[in-house]
């Protein structure tokens, strides 16, 4: 390890460390523009110049371009280096506009900071400033090219890091222009990172633009709850409105970046631009009441129903967007009060997949996104990452950049910003494909060394998988997998068969037994799926299984806590009828859901920005979101009535766990017996086991040790080919529009994808349909109209319907449907 001296301080750093990073380890921040840890060194801005006094190099050099070496003596304060850096600032400032007072970057601008710290304050350049025309880049990112200092961070991030090809450097010399071929929305769903990565104000966040000065923002570390990955964020609020969300660096989860859904999908917390789209007040039968009146009503009605019909006539619904605190409270209350539940999922199949996945995740095998970046072979089985967990696609892209082989086994027409081999296998074939791929990578010698259960599993794996359409040779891929050292299996829980998550775990385990550092990464359906599973047992029911009890009149009261069955229950009319039979529908939420509209009693709950809360992501990582602001109706846009009052308009919301506790009338629980941390540890033993009973809970991973670890003998997959003529219709997710709570954010509404049905082009040909046709699909309970998109890169015999806000698809009896050919027609 090289030892060197920087500004009279000695340090030893790992080989390959750049001098600029070595200095940072000493707390010396060498000025820089182009250098960024995630993007690497390119030596373009020349701002990080330092003087090398002794050692293998001498003179002024760029500290980002030079590896630390033994015997180096470096000065960052040497006059020649200081003068040069000051000159670089002068060069950059000859064209930079003096618009800091109206620039959103002001106050968080690297250029501003480094200009001030360099001491450059007087313009000496006698020439004119260069000007550019800006481009429209879509609803998220404003473009102000006159501010550009040409560090190339944006194009390097956009093209190299994130893999999109519609923004880059144009022109030459001092006219270099970063933009698009033509004006238009940026194609990347990771475009918001341009705002964070630009060292000055070329790219600014449109929703927050011209609204607030940086130093006036209330800021706190938060966590994104729009998908299971739990990317780390910073919430920024002003005048009771969340103004913007930025990425917060977490090396294990999201690195420096976020997807656009996570960054811009926050305005639900403000009730949208007009603040009217959030239920701010407590209500009884639709009429606004005080918090206390609503709590008293719920408490007494629940007690009454329990008394008459028994506590089993009360059901508590939770969801996978609940905080860990709320979930723990729900779990405790159900047990203590004898209520049914908690119920976390609508779809029994999804629930079983999540549970079997979480059960099989072992701390030895679970990988983080960071570890995926270093994988050399990635198999994605039944997951559409850009639409289900976008930042996971970014992690795999980094592996791809390091020449990892990427295979996607999924029936949908998957697109990803990197090269991958797509095997469009039907859901029932995914295990066959995965299994034969893994089996082919196990050598005879390795097989001999296995214990009997591993041997048995391996032998039972299908030897052959034929994929005619993709023309991909599985045996060739197996050969590559054989030489891989760090393979990762990414397994979805949406369209795959129920046995697939456990099967994927067995495959990963087998790869481990063959000496590889194999990893497993599940994509689960919501922010809190992992903890939902930890709080579930074999007896746990899903809403679909509860519904008949409501219909039979056995259940009289429903407490829906941040849970909206209407969001993804397939038969809306049936649900409506059933809910109308209830005596009591207590709803706790912050979104204006269909269930909220039907509430007997409604209690407004706090969003993730308005409370301290904990979430466990899909790899079992406990993360804390701090309260960003108190919340309430924002003073932005339509100003609230100027009436002098001693309360905050819209300030009634409370954390859902607190509301639950209050309506349960369990007075003793928190005040004297349990703290929140103890509550969580009491409900989820693994927390206690790792000593996490204090609050806030220490962040870290809490994967229970997998005691079983045994291989399940793979079932014989059904033979290929369907007997009946027709299509299997499956529901899928789509970015921006499919998930609570982000789909309620009006900031995203303009980028909702067009409602599109996906179909194999061969199937479409047979049905006389073609790309772009408007089609009507007759579901069991009514027809829907939408655009058709055809692809050759998907499984035949399937229709994929996005479950997105704005498409009224809930006309099905089950969570999937069989569609006879005559029921799809062109309109």
């Amino acid at each position: 390890m090289p030892r060197l001296v920087i500004d009279d301080l000695e340090i030893e750093v790992p080989k390959g460390t750049k001098v600029i990073d070595a200095a940072e380890r000493l707390g010396i921040m060498i000025p820089r523009f182009c250098y960024h840890e995630a993007l690497g060194a390119v030596g373009a801005c020349r701002m990080c110049a330092v003087k090398f006094i002794e050692g293998p190099l001498k003179g002024v050099q760029m500290s980002c371009m030079i590896d630390a070496q033994d015997g180096m003596v470096v000065s960052t304060t040497d006059q020649e280096a200081v003068d040069f850096r000051k000159r670089v600032i002068e060069w950059l400032m000859i064209n930079h506009p003096h618009d800091c007072p109206v620039c959103d970057e002001g106050g968080q601008c690297l250029l501003q900071d480094e200009t001030v710290s360099s001491g450059h304050g007087r313009r000496r350049y006698p020439g004119r400033k260069r000007t550019y025309r800006n481009q429209y880049l879509g609803p998220f990112i404003a473009h102000e090219m006159n501010r550009c200092i040409h560090c190339y961070r944006c194009s390097r991030y956009y093209q190299e890091f994130s893999g999109y090809r519609d923004l880059g450097p144009l022109q030459i010399g001092n006219r270099v222009y970063f933009g698009r071929f033509k004006e238009g929305r940026l194609e990347s769903p990771f475009s918001g990172n341009l705002v964070d990565i630009c060292p000055t104000g070329v790219y600014t966040d449109i929703p927050a633009r011209f609204k607030v000065r940086r130093w006036d923002l209330q800021r706190a570390p938060s966590v994104c709850i729009n998908c299971p990955l739990g990317c780390n964020t910073i919430g920024n609020s002003h005048y009771r409105a969340v103004m913007r969300v930025e990425a917060r660096m977490n090396p294990y989860v999201n690195g420096y970046f976020l997807c656009d859904e996570g960054r811009f999908g926050f305005s639900y917390t403000n009730g949208g631009a007009d603040h009217a789209q959030r239920p701010w007040n407590s209500r009884i039968s639709g009429a606004d009441v005080t918090v206390e009146a609503a709590l008293a009503e719920s408490a007494s009605k629940i007690a009454e129903i329990s008394a008459i019909y028994g506590p089993g006539a009360v059901v508590a619904l939770g969801s996978t967007r609940n905080s860990l605190e709320t979930q723990s409270m729900l779990s405790r209350l159900c047990r203590r009060k004898g209520w049914q539940g908690p119920v976390w999922f609508n779809d029994p199949a999804i629930y079983r997949k999540v549970r079997s996945g979480v059960e099989r995740l072992d701390s030895g095998i679970a990988v983080s996104m960071r570890e995926i970046e270093f994988a050399d072979f990635v198999i994605v089985a039944g997951a559409d990452l850009l639409n289900e967990a976008p930042m996971a696609a970014m992690a795999i892209r980094q592996a791809s950049r390091k020449n990892a082989t990427i295979i996607v086994v999924d029936p949908r027409p998957i697109s990803l910003p990197f090269e991958f081999r797509h095997i469009p296998a039907a859901p029932a074939q995914i295990e066959r494909c995965l299994g034969s791929l893994v089996k082919g990578s196990i050598s005879k010698d390795e097989l001999k060394g296995f214990d009997s259960s591993a041997k048995g599993f391996c032998k039972a794996l299908p030897a052959k998988f034929e994929e005619k359409e993709s023309g991909i040779s599985i045996s060739e891929l197996s050969g590559q997998l054989m030489s891989a050292k760090r393979p990762v299996i990414v397994c979805g829980t949406g369209i795959v068969c129920e046995s697939t998550p456990a099967f994927a775990a067995d495959c990963a385990q087998l790869l481990r037994e063959s000496g590889k550092k194999a990893g497993l990464f599940y994509i689960l359906p919501g922010a809190s799926s992992f903890s939902s599973a930890l709080l579930s047992g074999p007896e746990t029911k899903t809403f679909s299984e509860i519904l008949p009890q409501i219909e039979e009149g056995l259940i009289k009261a429903l407490i829906a806590t941040e849970s909206d069955p209407f969001w993804d229950f397939p038969d809306r009319e049936r649900l409506d009828r059933a809910l109308s039979m209830l005596d009591l529908l207590v709803v706790i939420d912050y979104l204006p859901t269909e269930t909220v509209k039907r509430a007997t009693v409604f209690h407004p709950s706090s969003t993730v920005f308005e409370m301290n809360s904990t979430f466990v992501n899909q790899e079992g990582r406990v993360q804390h979101a701090e309260r960003v602001h108190v919340g309430g109706v924002p003073i932005w846009g339509a100003h609230p009535p100027r009436i002098i009052r001693n309360f905050v308009p819209g300030g009634d919301h409370q954390p859902a766990w607190e509301l639950l506790w209050k309506i349960s009338a369990e007075t003793s629980m928190l005040e004297s017996v349990l703290t929140l941390g103890e509550l969580i540890a009491a409900e989820i033993p693994v927390f206690e086991a790792v000593g996490h009973s204090k609050y806030p809970i220490t962040e870290g991973r809490i994967i229970p040790e997998n005691s079983e670890g045994s291989f399940v003998k793979p079932k014989a997959s059904p033979a290929k080919g369907q007997t009946a003529k027709g299509f299997n219709l499956l529901l899928t997710d789509t970015i921006f529009a499919s998930r609570e709570p982000s789909a309620y954010a009006d900031t995203l509404a303009s980028v909702f994808p067009e409602a599109t049905l996906f179909m194999h082009s061969g199937d479409a040909n047979g049905a006389g349909l073609s790309e772009g046709d408007m089609v009507s699909v007759e579901l069991e309970l009514g027809a829907i109209q939408l655009k058709l998109s055809v692809s050759q890169r998907m499984a035949r015999g399937f229709l994929f319907l996005p479950r997105q806000r704005g498409i009224h698809w809930q006309k099905m009896k089950e969570f999937s449907a069989w569609i006879a050919p005559e029921r799809i027609r062109k309109i």
Partner: protein, 428 residues
């Protein structure tokens, strides 16, 4: 004139030498002997190394050393690139060479390729040399049909082919790493080694970039031996002949092949017709626009790498631009700076922003709006642009630095008179 005609021995007015003419003068004999005779490629490298052949494109790097830098166990394919971008102002020797004896370049490329087992050659040429590109394409086909190029050359088992790659036209493309980016269809920004192109060049494969004139020397050296080549030079350390292209205030501008180390005075007065009537030698740029002004004090300097280095200058491309007493060197330097600022690729700050800054100051001085303090600013920037990413900006600073060193009085006179004492018309 007793000139040792090597590269120009087949020079005809307004006509390209044919393959037959080239062969009659000994052409392709080296190829037949070394490749046809399956002589170890290492021998080719050794002979070139021994001959002291240094790169003729400006940097003067020993050619043999560059080939040797390709690791013996390096992967295939391997590429050779002939750099015919020749965009250094004042330089046109390669164009004349290509219009004189293209097969000399072709044979040189094949032998160079053989030296490090290259599989394909790119002939990278600027767009204003379209006539040269057409000549090359025609003659390459002739070479192919004669068995000198393509699959298993002369039945040796060694295969090598050459394609002509036309540039879209930019000065930076002449920089070896930028050139490689250009061939690969990427933006031609330079890439700082390591890794060196000899290890990871085109498509991450070993690649050698040689200047056209350098390559043209190769067959002659292999045919006549390294000592013969060394003896061509007038200076003891030099080797070979050199194509000098002379332009500006002389009677017969053009390109001539002269022994390495021919004194500047002899070049101007004997070989290019002397100064124009009424013109006196004031200064010249001895090796293209990115070298320093050379004043009459060094009028007798031998034109060779080391001799010019000894007086703080560079041989560069040996493109000598000659200025007389009537030329305003402030305006000239401004013109050069305008060129460099416009041709900066825009990658690094000192070049992208610093050069236009210097151009602006020179323009103001030339047009009577100069201030004394500009001289200090220019001087310090001339030093500071050496911290640029590639060599473009340091080269661009050379004329300015030497202007301030040798002609400071002339600059100050502009400022004092609030205008150009030469009243020269300068374009902006």
């Amino acid at each position: 004139m007793a000139q040792p005609l090597v590269l120009f021995k087949n020079r005809h007015p307004n006509r390209v030498a044919t393959l037959d003419e080239y062969r009659q003068s000994g052409g392709y004999a080296a190829l037949e002997r070394f490749i046809g005779g399956k002589i170890d490629p290492g021998e080719v490298v050794r002979l070139i190394d021994e001959s002291g052949l240094r790169g003729r494109g400006g940097a003067g790097f020993p050619a043999g050393k560059k080939w040797e830098a390709v690791p013996k166990n390096a992967p295939f394919p391997r590429y050779l690139v002939a750099n015919a971008d020749e965009m250094e102002p004042g330089t046109f020797k390669d164009r004349i060479l290509l219009h004189t004896d293209p097969h000399c370049v072709i044979e040189g490329m094949i032998l160079a390729g053989y030296a490090f087992s290259a599989t394909k050659g790119f002939f990278f040429i600027r767009p204003s040399y379209d006539s040269s590109a057409a000549i090359m394409e025609r003659e390459l086909e002739i070479a192919r049909q004669s068995g000198f190029l393509g699959k298993s050359i002369l039945g040796s088992g060694y295969s090598f082919d050459i394609v002509v790659h036309r540039s879209g036209g930019r000065y930076i493309c002449g920089e070896a790493t930028a050139l490689l980016n250009a061939i690969m269809g990427k933006r031609p920004n330079p890439i700082k080694p390591p890794p060196y192109p000899t290890e990871k060049g085109l498509w991450d494969r070993p690649t050698v970039v040689n200047n056209v004139e350098t390559l043209a020397c190769v067959p002659h050296i292999l045919r006549n031996g390294p000592q013969w080549f060394k003896d061509l030079s007038l200076t003891s350390k030099g080797a070979g002949t050199k194509l000098f292209c002379v332009s500006g205030k002389v009677n017969s501008p053009g390109a001539e092949e002269l022994p390495m180390g021919t004194p500047l005075r002899e070049i101007i007065e004997k070989h290019f017709g002397g100064m124009l009537p009424g013109s006196e030698f004031k200064a010249c740029l001895p090796g293209g626009a990115s070298t320093r002004f050379l004043t009459s004090e060094h009028y007798d300097v031998p034109m060779d790498f080391d001799d010019l280095k000894a007086i703080g200058n560079r041989l560069g491309t040996a493109a000598i631009m000659i200025f007389d007493q009537k030329t305003c060197l402030v305006a000239t330097t401004h013109n050069l700076m305008k060129f460099f600022a416009r041709e900066s690729c825009g990658w690094c700050t000192p070049c992208r922003e610093g050069l236009p800054y210097m151009r602006e100051l020179l323009w103001l001085i030339e047009n009577g709006e100069g201030k004394e303090e500009y001289i200090d600013t220019l001087r310090s920037m001339c030093k500071q642009v050496w911290n640029s990413y590639c060599a473009l900006a340091p080269g661009a600073a050379e004329p300015v630095a030497s202007l301030l060193e040798f002609f400071e009085d002339e600059v100050r006179e502009h400022i004092r008179l609030k205008g150009c004492p030469f009243n020269a018309k300068a374009g902006n």
